[in-house]
Symmetry: C2
């Protein structure tokens, strides 16, 4: 029985896409069958996996409108054991399209729940917002990974995100867990970086993954080649960090 | 006659808030009268100027709903010559509130156009999205500054943003100019950083500011003290970069 995990944080640029793409690729290396759903109109996860966004004809938009099944929307990637439902720029319009539907928060859940039978992990990359698109991902998910950049502004928005998760748990998805908080872009030379790690570990203790993702330029180079870090530079610190994260998550979810 | 400038880019974490706060403070140092409007529900510009977001009772939300005039919503900051209209978490709801109004894109424009008489510059910090809130800012503005992080994903979204600006110019605001593209978080030691600068200068030539904002940890430390970079560390590279940017903009807009 597979697990659906949303990667969400309304703060921009904290490493949501980098985490979704590289965790998905790392789980694939550990022989897990993985599906990545790009739920961000920016379509960075789609291009980060080497797919030409301009040529995408269908994907998450059709999935949410229920004009196409998940099976029909799934495409293969070069990354072993990793499939993708791509995003397209039309996804920007989905929030206005869904606003008047009765079950507007449940469109994703209805479209993907059965995929737990064919994948070990379904990872959903979210946009930097807490709008209807992200609400759909949180309602469909079993758990959420919260990337937290080791910067001051990243701490500010955490309270708001946790409140949103609580209200999703109350109203739409009582089973929603927090898979973990992931510290990203950590630079051990910077006092601020160390302060943020200390602060987050103090407040959230065992909700925080042991694995910390360090700042590593290879991670920001990989998407320009349309490759995950595993394919681009498996010997890099970034690859080691994300493989460790994959191990940590698989270990935690032993029963999968 | 003052100028209204929106600082916008739907890509998250590219330096919109850092630019708005520190450019506003730098223009204040150059004896310009400046108003900063925080149009992002994250309220990072508000907290970055030392205002306690939890204690904010009114601000950009009331401004857009027209339940309070700009004058009533303006508060003073510790930064010389810099006033603020703060954001509050209720701003998240404004997009749904405005959707059914006839003139939904013009609510900001109507509320702030007269402020050109009392300020030299009105800077609007936008959220990482191209929704109704950002559309309001682009419709109200004379020009837009586009921060571009020296990273690969930052280039990807540029086309979409320029298309949005074009459609705002066509439908809502024919006078909207591009004040400039600002390269941010530049690290001269990184090949990727240099490639992005080259690419952007090649494609956009004189639309790109001469001033480049370098990656500088003092810029990310300052908001944790609620201070602009000028107040926090006027001798830092970050302060020098933003003061240079302020000079460049004032020179370009000589007639103000
Ligand atoms: N550990 C890291 N080391 C170095 N660079 C990183 C790291 N993680 C992410 N980056 C870079 O930082 C930028 C922001 O990361 P990313 O785009 O993954 O964040 P995001 O949260 O998905 O952004 P958005 O809010 O726009 O969706 C990207 O250019 C990415 O390549
Ligand atoms: N030149 C710089 N050098 C070092 N750090 C920087 C620089 N500019 C911004 N930062 C840091 O990078 C992070 C992202 O910047 P900022 O929050 O200003 O981006 P943003 O575009 O406003 O993000 P959002 O999309 O969430 O609104 C912040 O933690 C900020 O302190
Ligand atoms: Mg992303
Ligand atoms: Mg911001």
């Amino acid at each position: 029985m597979g697990k659906i995990i949303a990667i969400a944080n309304q703060k921009g640029g904290v490493g949501k896409t980098t985490t979704t793409v590289n965790l998905a690729a790392s789980l694939g290396v550990l022989e897990k069958k993985v599906l990545l759903i790009d739920a961000d109109p920016q379509a960075n996860a789609t291009s980060g996996l080497g797919i030409d966004v301009e040529s995408v004809e269908f994907g998450t938009y059709q999935l949410l409108e229920h004009t196409m099944s998940a099976q029909e929307a799934i495409i293969k990637t070069d990354s072993p054991n990793l499939d993708l439902i791509p995003a397209h720029i039309d996804l920007v319009a989905i929030e206005i399209e869904l606003v008047d539907k009765d079950e507007r928060e449940y469109m994703m859940k209805k479209a993907i729940s059965h995929l737990r039978d064919s994948y070990d992990y379904v990872l959903i990359d979210c946009a930097p917002s807490l709008g209807l698109l992200t609400l759909n991902a949180l309602t469909a998910a079993d758990a959420v990974i919260i990337p937290i950049q080791c910067e001051y502004f990243a701490l500010e928005g955490l309270g708001k995100l946790l409140n949103t998760i609580k209200s999703v748990q109350k109203i739409h998805n009582p089973n929603l867990d927090i898979e973990g908080m992931l510290l990203t872009m950590f630079d051990s030379r910077l006092r601020l970086s160390n302060q943020v790690v200390e602060e987050v570990r103090k407040h959230f203790a065992d909700m925080v993954f042991d694995t910390i993702i360090q700042r590593n330029v290879r991670l920001s180079e990989a998407p320009s080649y349309g490759e995950s870090i595993i394919k681009y530079d498996a010997s890099s610190k970034g690859a080691t960090n994300y493989l460790n994260l994959a191990h940590e998550i698989v270990k935690k979810n032993k029963e999968i």
